[in-house]
């Protein structure tokens, strides 16, 4: 019975903690303190619910418990006496004016969550700290779960979170949504964090599994929340579209023994049509909002989503509109000139106009220092060489790629491709 209750508390915590912390952060103006107060409320629930049972409205219960602790916090905290008086008065005034503080918090919960997102992804923090803090505060993940997801020791993540909260407090980062010209830069930091979480789940950079679906789901959930909180930002919808469409392929990306299946080899019947529909709808929203832009062009996430949508719309691999994909990569390169994007454009070029056209572009990337240890460069080059019948060179490239990847599953696939290059059977 007690374990059932504990499981229920875990679930309630995951559902309720982001808005609990966000609401408290607005009152105490410190994310770290807000999280501590929310944790105290959780401890109270862990003590009481196994005896009293889970209340009918567990979220309201937690909020009430946390609110009491917030008031105690103000009373106790003499070091911040002035602020305390000021905030204490404010809180008291709020309670007088609005008999039901919970309702007041509910009204503003959207704004509070958005503030919490921007603070968790604040540029004063390192990228790693932003990721950990976002998963912790907005994803409701425990330190242990984050550590497990990123294959990092738990104390490392705990340290990262403690330091991040201290940095926010020391730098006096305000609990607010940035405005004006600052908004664009800050929003892109938020989107970067969400996409980083998604990508770590979608193609794990290290470890034995190629995917960690839990992280993809966390990122998608964050993205969907963000799209509701900031519905007028085209790139938010662009990112959601990109993630929904990529996630739609999860069921087709690995075979029964966990080996990766390349996009064009996938059984499209295993693509999740519900997620594709959601992705295309989100892309439609992004494109519609872009029409209002000065130059009318979509941003980098919307462009990547549009590329993903080209695959999603094709009922068979042969139906793929590669020329459209080449054009979209061309636009993307203008936005964010990157050798990785160029490599992807090379693949699309090869599909649209033949392997030689792709290889020409790939060969210009060989001397690119940032790709020196990037396993996909020799992997793509090997593939194009093999298609051109240059099998010995192709094998050498696949072997080089296998030596560069840190992912076990991917390495096995590359070794297999190197092997079949010379044995004559084709894999792709």
């Amino acid at each position: 019975m007690a374990t059932d209750t504990h499981r229920a508390i875990d679930a309630v915590w995951r559902i309720e903690s982001p808005r609990l912390i966000a609401g408290l952060a607005r009152i105490v103006r410190d994310v770290g303190v807000a999280e501590d107060l929310a944790q105290d409320a959780l401890v109270a629930a862990l003590e009481q619910w196994p005896i009293s049972g889970v209340p009918d409205n567990p979220g309201a219960w937690l909020m009430a418990a946390a609110k009491h602790r917030a008031i105690d916090y103000f009373r106790r905290n003499t070091r911040l006496e002035r602020k305390h008086e000021e905030l204490g008065r404010e809180l008291a005034a709020r309670e007088m004016a609005v008999p039901d503080l919970n309702a007041a918090l509910d009204d503003d919960v959207g704004d509070d969550l958005l503030r919490l997102v921007f603070v968790s992804c604040h540029p004063v923090l390192t990228t790693e700290a932003r990721v950990a803090l976002t998963l912790r505060l907005l994803g409701g993940l425990t330190t242990g779960e984050i550590a497990h997801a990123f294959l990092v020791p738990e104390p490392t993540i705990a340290q990262r979170i403690v330091r991040a909260k201290r940095t926010l407090s020391e730098k006096g980062v305000p609990f607010e949504v940035p405005r004006g010209p600052e908004l664009a830069a800050r929003l892109s930091s938020v989107l970067e964090v969400v996409y980083l979480i998604f990508n770590e789940g979608y193609s794990a950079t290290a470890g034995d599994d190629w995917m960690r679906p839990g992280l993809c789901e966390d990122a998608l959930r964050l993205g969907r929340i963000l799209a509701e909180l900031a519905p007028l930002e085209p790139e938010v919808h662009g990112l959601v579209a990109l993630m929904e469409i990529q996630a739609s392929r999860s069921g087709a990306r690995v075979n029964a023994s966990g080996e990766p299946i390349l996009l064009l080899e996938q059984n499209r019947a295993h693509w999740d049509q519900l997620l594709i529909r959601r992705g295309l709808a989100a892309l439609g929203r992004a494109e519609k909002l872009c029409e209002g832009n000065v130059d009318g062009t979509p941003g980098p996430y919307a462009l990547q989503a549009a590329i993903a949508a080209c695959h999603a719309r094709a009922r068979t691999a042969q139906e793929t509109d590669w020329k459209q994909i080449v054009a979209l990569y061309g636009e993307l390169v203008l936005f964010a000139p990157s050798p990785v994007v160029e490599l992807n454009r090379a693949v699309a070029l090869a599909m649209a106009f033949g392997p030689a056209a792709g290889l020409d572009l790939v060969d210009t990337l060989i001397s690119e220092p940032s790709l020196a240890t990037y396993h996909l460069l020799p992997s793509v080059r090997g593939d194009l060489l093999r298609k051109l019948g240059r099998v010995q060179e192709a094998r050498a490239e696949f072997e080089r790629a296998a030596g560069l990847t840190r992912n076990t599953r991917e390495r096995e696939l590359l070794i297999e491709r190197a092997r079949v290059c010379v044995s004559g059977s084709t894999l792709s």
Binding site: I15, M211, L220, G251, A256
Partner: protein, 133 residues
């Protein structure tokens, strides 16, 4: 983890739900979309309009509703993406609370079924073969 929630009711409650319940469900659904958990949902047409295509003893038969033997009828479904089964149970309980509150006398259930992802199939087959072997 993805979940399918199937809402079933005893066949005597075939009429439309009270407005208060519909409003409460709308609000809940709106929240579930906002917090990124509900992927899609739908209500099903009355069982009288349904058709069953069934194989029994090697024969395929097609039968139109209503069905005399039907005691519980699926009225609607919703698909969610959640972190755990417990989270799904919490959500379903809340949903049923609304029925209890706004539709006195109503009897039915919400069935929580996980939709398997590729990793779950692998795990499931592994467990089955371990039990067998």
């Amino acid at each position: 983890m993805k979940f399918m929630m199937l809402v079933k009711h005893t066949s005597k409650f075939s009429g439309p739900p009270p407005k208060a319940l519909m409003d409460a469900i709308d609000k809940l659904a709106e929240e579930a979309v906002k917090n990124g958990t509900m992927l899609g949902s739908g209500g099903l047409a009355p069982i009288e309009q349904s058709t069953r295509i069934r194989i029994s003893k090697g024969e395929i038969t097609v039968t139109d509703g209503p069905y005399t033997e039907a005691k519980e009828v699926i009225g609607g479904y919703a698909q969610f993406e959640l972190k755990s089964k417990e989270e799904a149970i919490q959500g379903a309980k809340h949903f049923m609370e609304l029925h209890k509150q706004h539709w006195p006398g109503w009897e039915g259930e919400t069935e929580v079924r996980q939709i398997f992802g590729p990793e779950d199939f692998a795990q499931h087959i592994h467990e089955l073969s371990r039990k067998a072997g």
